[in-house]
């Protein structure tokens, strides 16, 4: 049962897990976004590789050809790529705002600052106001 017939899925899984690993381990927010992008492209690969048919050609009708690859995954992924860049830019915009508010894009430094902001005033029960005060400075 185990053969090279399934290798496209394994490449996809490797890429997906590499993206996942970057997302977990990296400390820098932009590197995290790149990890998320790799995760996303692995899904693109999955769809496109499933649409491929042996001996098929690109889904543009030509006389004398009857064997085409499946156009449906192409459509879904084409729009997904453009939506992907739009959402990535939204994430990058958030990173810029975080940089301006905290002066850092390292995850551990930001968490530390949040800790200080939350527990610096020990009696203050209104943590929400505290952290928003820190981010708007």
């Amino acid at each position: 049962m185990i053969s090279l017939e399934l290798y496209n899925y394994w490449v996809v899984i490797f890429l997906m897990m590499a993206g996942f690993y970057i997302l977990i381990t990296s400390n820098h927010l932009i590197k995290k976004i790149i990890g998320l992008n790799i995760f996303q492209t692995s899904v693109f690969m999955l769809y496109i590789s499933m649409g491929k048919v042996a001996g098929g050609t690109a889904p543009i009708a030509v006389e004398g050809v009857s064997n085409y690859s499946n156009p449906l995954p192409h459509v879904l992924i084409l729009t997904a790529i453009v939506v992907g860049i739009a959402t990535t830019s939204l994430a990058l915009a958030l990173v810029i705002r975080i940089k301006e508010a905290y002066g850092s894009v390292q995850e551990d430094e930001i968490l530390e600052m949040d800790q200080i902001a939350d527990h610096g005033k020990a009696e203050d029960e209104d943590n929400q106001a505290d952290s928003s005060g820190a981010s708007s400075k």
């Binding site: 049962m1 185990i2 399934l6 899925y9 394994w10 490797f14 890429l15 897990m17 590499a18 993206g19 996942f20 690993y21 990296s26 400390n27 820098h28 932009i30 790149i34 992008n37 790799i38 492209t41 496109i48 590789s49 499933m50 491929k52 048919v53 042996a54 098929g56 889904p59 543009i60 009708a61 064997n67 085409y68 690859s69 499946n70 156009p71 449906l72 192409h74 459509v75 992924i77 084409l78 729009t79 790529i81 453009v82 939506v83 992907g84 860049i85 739009a86 959402t87 990535t88 830019s89 939204l90 990058l92 915009a93 958030l94 990173v95 810029i96 705002r97 894009v105 390292q106 551990d108």
Partner: protein
């Protein structure tokens, strides 16, 4: 190759190198898409992934800084174990999947035969990807365009565009004569190519999404080689914002138009004398709407990031 690039991205610390490698990664991915027959997708990935996304990433790291400091309490083993177990479970899951390039796989049995066999007659255009995108799944595509527009609204409300009123001193930053002349030579051809991709998308690979991105690349190239002030004078952000919204309006308006003509929402068959002519007209109009929104959105995103970086300096 893709796998090696990914490993390099995982290992590297220098953010600039990582961003460049992710551009290369996108280009490799586009090549793989071509070999997998997905020409439209490869087109999009090459222009979006290797082009716009790299530029936006570079603009961001220009603001945030290049170096990655190591995490103080570093633990690599636990994430590695988690990732390995998840991967192993997924590999186990693939054992039941149909083999690669199997023509009898379930994915090819449902609606795909109808798209492949009927669409050249029903819609009258040879590129099945365009006919599925614009006609059969027109609702989906409208949703995607609205998502792109919503992301633009989000970015603008988060960081906004700071229009530079000051005329730049052309002596500094130092003039780049070679780049500027080359860019001037390239830009007309890039725009021509974008228009070709836009209006030839029915017959060859291409369409509104790709054309919009390519068009915006021409303007981005101009802004990069000249200055932000010149770029914004050429394409004033105020006008771009109106155009981005009107692209969505054109798409939705076409849907309303088909209703007024007595059809259902986005059923273009009623627009022309014959059903095929109506489909053709409808696809052309909504692809134009898509192209308009995508092009202006990409330009506005670029202006937003770049102007943010410059105002910090």
């Amino acid at each position: 190759m893709l796998v090696f690039t990914t490993i390099a991205i995982v290992r590297l610390r220098n953010l600039f190198a990582i961003v460049m490698l992710s551009g290369i990664y996108s280009l490799l991915l586009a090549n793989i898409f071509v070999t997998l027959d997905a020409v439209d997708v490869a087109f999009t990935e090459a222009s979006v992934g290797a082009g716009i996304s790299t530029v936006l990433m570079l603009a961001t790291i220009g603001i945030t800084g290049y170096d990655i400091k190591a995490r103080s309490n570093i633990r690599r083993l636990v994430p590695l174990i988690v990732v390995s177990i998840t991967g192993a479970v997924l590999v186990y899951g693939t054992m039941d999947m149909p083999a690669f390039t199997d023509a009898m796989a379930p994915i090819h049995q449902h609606v795909a035969p109808r798209y492949i066999i009927d669409s050249p007659q029903e819609i009258g255009i040879p590129n099945m990807v365009t006919s599925v995108l614009a006609s059969y799944r027109g609702y989906d595509t409208m949703g995607e365009v609205i998502v792109v527009f919503a992301a633009l609204v989000g970015v603008l409300s988060l960081i906004g565009i700071r229009e530079t009123k000051v005329v730049p001193n052309y002596l500094e930053p130092p003039a780049r004569p070679i780049l500027q002349v080359m860019a001037k030579l390239m830009i007309p051809f890039i725009i021509l190519f974008a228009l070709y991709v836009q209006f030839h998308g029915d017959f060859g690979p291409g369409g509104g999404f790709q054309a919009g991105v390519i068009f915006s690349v021409a303007i981005i190239l101009y802004t990069l080689t000249f200055s932000q002030y010149d770029g914004m004078r050429l394409m004033p952000p105020k006008i771009l914002k109106i155009l981005a919204a009107s692209g969505v309006l054109i798409y939705g308006g076409t849907g309303i138009w088909t209703i007024l003509k007595g059809g259902t929402f986005l059923n273009y068959s009623v627009l022309g004398d014959t059903s095929v002519a109506g489909q053709h007209l409808g696809i052309l109009v909504i692809e134009f709407g898509v192209g308009l929104t995508v092009a202006t959105t990409m330009m506005l995103l670029f202006f937003a990031f770049v102007s943010r970086g410059d105002s910090k300096r």
